[in-house]
Symmetry: C3
Subunit: 491 residues, 3 copies
């Protein structure tokens, strides 16, 4: 009997194990993840020296705001770095399909460095944020080199071999770049004739026989020059001596010297290649007052930007200022914060709940979700604090504002699909709503005629204005009459 | 022993439960469906007042024909309605990828109503079907308003704030709209400065601090003016008094007054905004005879349509008429039936079996299906009876005809990709096949020279012709000789 | 006790079965595959007479190289054939999305044959490889016919009805065609007014009532003329007598007679339709020396190619020659081998491992793979032997070379996205790297100044050069001094 009992107990134990097993299995299934998912989680790293910081999951963030850490390190060494944002559609496919073919990168070159020659299978536009350098373009017929500095815009056509030198002894050369791939949407590569650490020469793609015959040099030397990567050598940015810098940049011209020719009818490749400056060029549109400055180069005004339909903008806001609410008619802006922090506020009728978390696992159902159109009439509040190094997106048509509080704020932006785009302000002296007839305002906003007359006309500034806090006292003295109008109107 | 027995029986029971459990589990797995699938089946409704009629599954229909009930109610009230077709790619992805970025909507405003100011993140073109109204465009610099009536075409550029008034006391103002989104393919939104029932103001997206500082008004009033939706208030279409209409439309000009200036070189935004009329403008192409009228505005002739490459067409067929078989070289037409019913016949070499049912569940396999090209040489008969309120699609290259039987038939269409498009007729006096040499016709159609000479030249009408029934007697008297040619030719 | 023991053993057995069962279940889950996968494996074939050779899995091949057998037989008879490449994205979606909307076809018409009239829902460009023929365009207003021969380029606009005759008594008429669909990316169809074997007439899409009324012919004759396919009749290519050829081609003009008018301002459809010749037209760019010839028509120079942004190129290399390494700035070339074999070498920074095998089953994970960007800096060697009938792809930016060994080599190519494209050579007299300053070369390649000066300037030929083998003796006599420079430089 005792034996039987023992056996029975053992059996019960076994059975409960079996149960637990089956139960556990249920749990497993609920946690089921497709196997390729796990592979994806394994970080893919380039060989040492290029750490891929990876894509930071920012599950509580708005998809329009890319924090500094969202950048991937494409290259990093003591001589500088290249950081790149992932494809926008990777963040939110439904929201960013219209800018799928654009990529954003940030470059920094230390003093006395040289970025080696290369070309891209992409067109691109560069905006210099800081420092002094020389950029040189080489083709099989000519070469041209230009001094560049803060506010200079450089068009880099697809396939043009180019290199750059930081000519300053102390200040890093810092620039942002918008990249427009020509082969495949949102994908591009750099092509280097010379090998460097972690970067093979494109001549590696050719056999020794071909290289020997092509250069008319002995076959046995080809390997030493081009094969493999330079395991112990330098990266794509290299330290150069002041003498070498002098030699490298001796032919460089200052773009402003050739300013007048920009308007010439002879639109050859060199016109397109000539840099221009956002702060000094006449054709740049500007708004400016005590609270801020705004400079924008339109593709209609600059040959360099025309075929890409890209606009380039620079915004500088004083402490305690407001970039008055406005929207862009057709253009989406990809904006980079160069200095300070600000509050970014945007009204979006698009819903994006769960866009981020679900995207990789559930692409198609989500695509289906896009088709199930949201017709709720709801407006979503996009509010975020953006700081130096962050990127934010302002889609076309979306009313948008920026508020700087404790410090000056500087941002730069590339506008996509910028042909014939207009910026429409919703407040300030130039204000679409102030142009409504009084009766239209009354019927639209359901207010009396006195309120209708004053509602959109009380702001005396244009484009930039002081925040409430920064002029609270002033306003409270000035505006009691307006408040009584509202009281009068029954609010 | 009894105890042992009882224990054993208990164990057996437990084990069978375990078995059943595992078995049930198998069944579960076979019935496994991804959870998001079920979520999709839950209808998403806007708040009351906007019922989403939903997408009607028309499994036995041709994908080219959208019945009246396919429209979704985007807005509906006593003052009027806005109905919208779902994305074309939702109906048949493989057939309609080329028109993915186009949306079609129908508007109706009751007499004495006002459509409140708003803008879209989309370009659009409007064609007025019925009634009289005024459309006004407002920018931060100017405003312009125009009287519009039947046959008027209005270009609405992306981002331009606009509103409309039905100025007629008795007749609804009715128009169709083709919409070309600028942010994301096939997706767009409306942006309203003022709240209304079920529609939030875009100012809801901003904090009170920002709105107060922007408008220079007290913060405590901002909420009352802009937040939330107007739960007990009016919709986006509002009843207005005759006095208000007079006031709202006092600056409106008639587009025909400015007709001559349309040709001026100064192509500013106002030229683009100026409406034109399909029936009176010289640059409109027209065919006309006893059996029908056809009017078409090409993008080459109208600045308003040029950059969108959209054509606008109006067809009016008498009872018992035939729009002679023809095809468009590059343009796909999205056609709306405004009056009557007709038989739509089209020849399509594309197969679309199962396109509709499978699309949501098996998108990629179906995409694969597209790749497995149909090389059967088969031609599919697309025959459908289209009636008032329906939409039908005529893709480029597809031979197509319309037959009206018992009543007059009116349809209007927007042509997509309409630059340098030609319409080629396959029958009638102007007829591509009648221009073949006799020997080419003989070799091609395998007929004798007498048949070859008469086959494509016996129709005396162009563009529109009577149907067989409507002139049967006439023909039977006239054509015996031709029949004998065929007999002679061995048919 | 024994009974208890037996029961216990039975129970243990049952429990182990339950365990095994659960275990097996684990295995099942691991082998789980979605059911629709299996459906895909069922081959879809057209009706007999058109065998679909199908897509040859070339698992060990580079995706850039399409062997002769990759073509599908679209039509084949004693009178000739039409072969077509599958959609490029079917081979490698991530690599070829940029050329998704282009299709490539090869035509061959036997002597004394006629290709019946038809139109396409696609624009296309034809290049004649061999033979003599006449192509005729017919619209509902006009007709024009032209003699064509080797090197002639013919633009076929979308929707234009056309037919062709091989006018030579002995030589087949052979041409290649690039096709740009207008309805849906990468999909197009041919539309035939007349039925032939395995090909229905588009009039089959219409009812007899409509056809009878349209042509004004008796209804009972319509069926005999148009319905069904001509089961016992001829294909789309037909044998014609010398007399019929004479009659069919009597109005044909030679394009060169109208050469001067090509530059006229009157760019009507007939200018676009007029063929031009790659070997005789002045506006064609050419490189030529003892080792090869290269002719290229750019879209900037020819109205026929302008709106499609397609370039057409013809390469002819002598035995033992090298097309010096170069890349195209923006253009992807689709190249067809017309004669001989050559080694194709290309450097690609894109990885494509497993692209082919996985694509149909794992489309989305692979798309995810695209997003997980390869930042390894690795360059892939694409080396392949390409022979008559093969097609190879040269994407924009990719350094590329061709080596002919035992025979003359002829290839022809269509360049996609060819506006403002430049070809940059990496070796030879015109060579981008030879334009680098000496100091830039030294810093970039890590060589001494003597090597830097000679490295990219030792090749005296441009564009085409002899291979190593073909002038080994010459070089060895001439170049010892250069070798000693390298030794001196410490290599």
């Amino acid at each position: 009997m005792t034996m039987t009992k023992k056996l029975v107990i053992t059996l019960l134990l076994l059975i409960s194990i079996a149960f637990v097993h089956c139960l556990a299995f249920h749990v497993d299934l609920e946690e089921f993840e497709p196997p390729q998912q796990e592979e994806q989680d394994v970080p893919r790293r380039g060989p040492g020296g290029r750490s891929s910081e990876g894509w930071e999951e920012e599950s509580t963030e708005f998809p329009y705001h890319f924090r500094k850490r969202s950048f991937k390190n494409w290259f990093q060494s003591n001589e500088g770095f290249v950081k790149m944002l992932p494809k926008f559609t990777k963040r939110a496919r439904n929201l960013f399909r219209g800018i799928e073919n654009y990529r954003f990168a940030l470059f920094e070159m230390e003093p006395n460095t040289f970025l080696v020659p290369h070309h891209l299978d992409a067109d691109s536009v560069v905006l210099v944020l800081q420092g002094h350098g020389v950029v040189e373009f080489v083709t099989d017929k000519t070469k041209e080199s230009f001094h560049v500095t803060k506010g200079d815009v450089v068009r880099l056509p697809s396939g043009v071999t180019h290199f750059a030198t930081n000519t300053n002894q102390t200040v890093p050369l810092r620039f942002v770049k918008i990249i427009v791939p020509v082969n495949n949407p949102g994908q591009f590569k750099d092509y280097f004739p010379a090998r460097s650490q972690f970067q093979q020469s494109y001549f590696t793609g050719f056999s020794k026989e071909v290289l020997s015959a092509s250069f008319n040099i002995p076959e046995e030397l080809v390997g030493r020059l081009f094969s493999g990567s330079q395991q112990t050598g330098q990266g794509i940015m290299r330290r150069v001596s002041p003498d070498q810098i002098k030699e490298l940049t001796k032919h460089a011209t200052s773009p402003s010297n050739k300013h007048k020719e920009t308007k010439s009818k002879h639109k050859d490749i060199s016109t397109k290649l000539r840099p221009f400056n956002l702060f000094t060029q006449d054709s740049v549109s500007s708004y400016t007052n005590d609270f801020g400055h705004f400079h924008e180069a339109h593709p209609e005004s600059f040959d360099q930007l025309q075929d890409l339909r890209i606009a380039v903008a620079w915004t500088n806001m004083s402490q305690g200022s407001l970039f008055l609410p406005h929207y862009n008619s057709k253009t989406t802006f990809i904006t980079f914060v160069e200095n300070g922090c600000a509050r970014y506020e945007m009204a979006s009728p698009y819903s994006f709940q769960g866009e981020q978390q679900q995207q990789e696992q559930q692409w198609w159902p989500q695509q289906g979700g896009e088709e199930e159109e949201d017709m709720s009439g709801q407006v979503h509040k996009i509010v975020s604090r953006v700081c130096k190094g962050d990127v934010f997106i302002i889609p076309a048509g979306h009313p948008f504002t920026l508020v700087s509080h404790d410090e000056n704020f500087v941002s730069v932006g590339f506008g996509i699909h910028a042909s014939n785009c207009t910026r429409t302000f919703l407040a300030g002296q130039e204000n679409v709503l102030s142009n409504l007839d009084t009766v239209a305002t009354r019927v639209t906003f359901g207010v009396g005629s006195k309120v209708a007359e004053k509602l959109f006309t009380s702001q005396n500034h244009s484009y930039f204005a002081p925040t409430t806090r920064s002029h609270q006292q002033t306003r409270e003295k000035r505006e009691p009459s307006f408040q009584s109008i509202f009281s009068f109107a029954g609010f």
